[in-house]
């Protein structure tokens, strides 16, 4: 099984600022994904993080707002840019190894 570590686990952010979330997997994985889970809701896919190329974004999510990097097979970052209170959510990193695993999530509150 894969172990996924996310940083930060929780943060309170000021409106208009940006925050980068890091995701580290303890083994090489073929695919990594970023999800958002708004309070009381289920998981919504933001994008697929592609190693060595641009991320593939889902409808409603754009690169300028959620830039993603994946420099190698074990690491990815998601930046939430120019934050507003509507961005207050849990952001989850997911990796495709022998099955699909999730990190513990990064809880962002925008004030």
């Amino acid at each position: 099984s894969a172990v996924i570590s996310q940083k930060p686990s929780r943060d309170i952010c000021q409106r208009g600022t940006s925050l980068t979330i890091q995701c580290q997997v303890d083994s090489q994985v073929t695919m990594m994904f970023w999800y958002r889970q708004q309070p009381g809701q289920s998981l919504t896919l933001i994008a697929t993080a592609n190693q060595g190329s641009e991320a593939t974004y889902e409808s409603g999510f754009v690169i300028d707002k959620f830039p993603i990097s994946r420099p190698n097979l074990t690491f990815s970052t998601l930046t939430v840019s120019n934050m507003s209170p509507e961005d207050s959510s849990i952001y989850l990193c997911s990796a495709f190894g022998d099955t699909i695993y999730f990190g513990e999530g990064s809880w962002l509150t925008v004030v």
């Binding site: 994904f33 289920s42 099955t99 999730f102």
Partner: protein, 111 residues
């Protein structure tokens, strides 16, 4: 478009009272159906993957089954520690490999 519907939204059981959670899905071609458990403040914890109709998997008090249109998560003689949100998700055999999630069933088991 892939869709996952879970029912009921919430379920309250007495300790020892067995029940089932339902997950109905539509997908262009099913690569796998996944069940996760999510505790408050945590990321989803992998439980099962089912790949073909008729398949069953068990883990402690949980048993997952799959048909061509739905999956059931049977909980036998639940304990209070089984209280959590149970998420169902599908992975399509073509196109993107990320999971599409249902809205979850919030299970509360009372002693």
């Amino acid at each position: 478009e892939d869709q996952v519907t879970q029912s009921p939204e919430a379920l309250r059981l007495q300790e020892g009272e067995s029940s089932s959670l339902n997950c109905s899905y539509t997908v262009s071609g099913l690569r796998g159906l996944f069940w996760y458990r999510q505790d408050p403040g945590k990321g989803p914890e992998f439980l099962f993957t089912l790949y073909s109709a008729g398949e069953e998997k068990e883990k402690e008090r949980l048993k997952a089954t799959l048909t061509k249109k739905e999956s059931f998560l049977h909980i036998t003689a639940p304990k209070p520690e089984d209280s959590a949100t149970y998420l169902c998700a599908v992975q399509a055999s073509t196109g993107r490999r990320a999971l599409t999630f249902g809205s979850g069933t919030r299970l509360q088991v009372q002693p």
